[in-house]
């Protein structure tokens, strides 16, 4: 698969946006500027970007509680996201959703979700709608290794398998369900292999290799768009940070070794991608640095925007309940 330079740079830019956004967010959260639970996906940028790069603007995605990377990968605006996480009325959800509930309908971002596994039937229904409306839009459904043990995973993959719905199930297997290792709670050992039970192709990928993810996702999207049905992609990856910002406050015995974390950091999806692009000679360090700087500036503006945006008026609590 030949990937044009423009797309390469765009993927890189999106990965940088996620990394920088979340790195800043971590900092702001620790400094107590931000309320609520913040789940970071630092280290998992490749799966979000590799999949979304294979989608069209009219395609749709659903995300999870770890829900910043996917919207950014689908084109979400940093400043409206950050304003939302700050609880400002200029945020994507007018301050009603927060970090776990980023939504941008105009970009097909149907929403992050605070309920693990909650988005899987919704993505499946979104694909069903494409069928009913005779459109060829595809839906990508992100979820974790933990979510793959929820009943909604089974019910949805079965439904999609039976109806051959245009949906890509993207399991981001980061090895943990909070403090519990995926291996200890996942029977059968492989999430990708579960696809067979539903008569759909399933693949376990290097989730830190954005090009590999993009390649598999592109094939899956093409299949789905052609009416050939769903695909399950298991992207093996790792979260560098705690389950939630501040998890150390929970105390308790450590649940992963420093070596394990270090080994995964050594396989940083961004650094690896940079290296390959530079080695290929198609992209220069300056081009990358420029993107980094642009993102930096954009992020500074976003922080400024969020901080200076007004909080919602209490009276706004009563709006948007019904339509």
């Amino acid at each position: 698969m030949d990937i044009g330079k423009e797309l390469l740079l765009e993927m890189y830019r999106r990965m940088q946006r996620i990394r920088q956004f979340e790195t800043r967010l971590k900092d702001l959260t620790i400094r107590s500027e931000i309320p609520g639970f913040i789940h970071l996906s630092i280290g998992e940028e490749a799966s979000a970007v590799g999949v979304c790069a294979a989608l069209r603007p009219t395609d749709r995605i659903t995300s999870t509680h770890r829900g910043h990377g996917h919207p950014i990968a689908k084109g979400g605006e940093l400043k409206r996201m950050l304003a939302e996480i700050y609880g400002r009325r200029t945020g994507y959800c007018k301050g009603k959703g927060g970090s776990m509930h980023i939504v941008d309908y105009s970009l097909g971002i149907l929403g992050a979700n605070g309920i693990v596994g909650g988005g899987i039937p919704i993505a499946t229904g979104s694909a069903l709608a494409a069928r009913v409306m005779k459109r060829d839009d595809v839906t990508a459904c992100f979820f974790g290794d933990g979510a793959a043990n929820e009943g909604t995973f089974h019910e949805s993959l079965n439904l999609a398998g039976v109806l051959k719905l245009p949906v890509i199930y993207v399991c981001e297997n980061n090895g943990y369900q909070v403090f519990t290792s995926a291996a200890s709670v996942t029977a059968g050992g492989s999430i990708a292999a579960r696809a067979q039970a539903y008569g759909m192709p399933g693949f376990a990928l290097d989730g830190n290799d954005v090009l590999e993810v993009y390649r598999y996702a592109s094939n899956a999207v093409a299949r789905a768009r052609a009416g050939e049905g769903p695909t399950l992609l298991e992207c093996r990856t790792y979260r560098w940070e705690g389950h939630v910002v501040g998890e150390n406050a929970f105390g308790g015995r450590p649940y992963r070794s420093e070596e394990e974390v270090a080994a995964w950091k050594a396989r940083c999806p961004i650094v690896q991608f940079e290296k390959r692009m530079l080695e290929s000679g198609r992209v220069s360090r300056e081009e990358l640095d420029q993107l980094i700087a642009q993102t930096q500036a954009e992020l500074d503006a976003a922080v400024e925007f969020a901080r200076s945006s007004p909080l919602p008026d209490p009276s706004e609590a009563a709006a948007d309940i019904y339509g």
Binding site: C93, G111, N158
Partner: protein, 322 residues
């Protein structure tokens, strides 16, 4: 106007709305054949593209309705018995009810849920519940409980046109009941109670299948010179507080008849609302008539002991009349 059954009225409304709006479609178990009555030719009319049989997976297909609504369709999702909704409560209460609000108004969720509720004789605890009490405290949903064919059609049509998730509870015992039902554009607004019978002495607020029981009792008591007003809220969310309070302000006495278990029933909600906003109208204690706080038992004499009947309403009416 034709005299048709509750089920026929439901299908009349369904067909009219499906013809009116091509973005509507039906999903559920055995919907192509219909488990509890159907309209002749219903499936043939809309075909497998708009009537979809689902695998046994309530959370999955209720959630699929949520996603399909968010993606621009208007799903009509059937859950065979209200008790099966429990399997899909996350999708109903955490997703359908909340996503519009949590998205700051971006998500539209025009979903109609059809389900069957209530005791019908020997179906036992897992097939006889009302279930709407479990949803009274879930803002974002609307709940409709029609008491007869005409309201069933009118409420269903309004539900399908509504941009919010609406659960329509069809009481199994009403399925064969008949009345005149207006053809075509007959809409019953969600949030509008009906005065099913005017009266002076006491207000009976009755829900769903309790309405015909209340009306029969009112009819009987009229010969004793007791004038009973029967109010049917028709929807529990939104609740037409105005209409209820207006009636109580006239009669000063109130009985609330609900087939739900007493504790936490819709009767409790309505009763407390009256005690709060209509306290000064009241000349007697509020009286609830509801099911015993026990799972609905199988054996007919036990079921009869648990589910309130006409007699129980009459006793309550006589009690508040002192």
């Amino acid at each position: 106007m034709a005299r048709i059954t509750f089920i026929q009225a439901i299908f009349e409304g369904l067909i009219e709305e499906m013809e009116r709006d091509p973005s509507t479609f039906v999903l559920g178990l055995d919907v192509t054949r219909g488990t509890f009555g159907r309209a002749a030719g219903f499936f043939e009319r809309f075909g497998p593209e708009r009537i979809l049989d689902m695998p046994l997976s309530e959370a999955g297909f209720v959630g699929a309705a949520v996603g399909a609504a968010m993606a621009g369709t208007r799903p009509i999702c059937e859950v065979q018995f209200a008790s099966f909704f429990y399997c899909a409560f996350d999708q109903l209460c955490n997703q359908a009810a909340k996503l519009r609000y949590m998205s700051g108004g971006q998500a539209r969720l025009p979903i109609t849920f059809r389900t069957r509720c209530g005791a019908v004789g020997g179906a036992a605890a897992q097939h006889s519940e009302t279930v709407y009490p479990q949803l009274l405290s879930v803002p974002g949903l609307k709940l409709a409980v029609p008491s007869g064919p005409a309201d069933a059609k009118g409420l269903l049509k309004s539900a399908i046109r509504d941009d919010n998730p609406v659960v329509v509870f069809e009481h199994l015992a009403l399925g064969g009941s008949r009345e005149e039902v207006p053809e075509g554009e007959h809409l019953v607004a969600l949030g509008k109670a009906a005065v099913k019978r005017e009266g002076r002495d006491v207000t009976v607020i009755a829900i769903g299948a309790m309405v015909p029981k209340a009306l029969a009792m009112a009819q009987r008591l009229a010969s004793d010179g007791i004038s009973v007003e029967v109010i049917d809220p028709r929807t529990l969310i939104p609740l037409d507080e105005q209409a209820i309070l207006a009636s109580v302000s006239k009669t000063n006495r109130v009985v609330i008849a609900d087939e739900a278990h007493l504790h936490g029933s819709a009767a409790s909600e309505i009763g407390c609302m009256i005690a709060e906003k209509g306290f000064d109208y009241l000349d007697a204690p509020i009286k609830r008539v509801a099911a015993m706080d026990a799972p609905v038992p199988f054996s007919p004499p036990l079921e009869k002991a648990v589910i309130p009947g006409e007699q129980a309403i009459e006793r309550a009416v006589r009690e508040v009349l002192g």
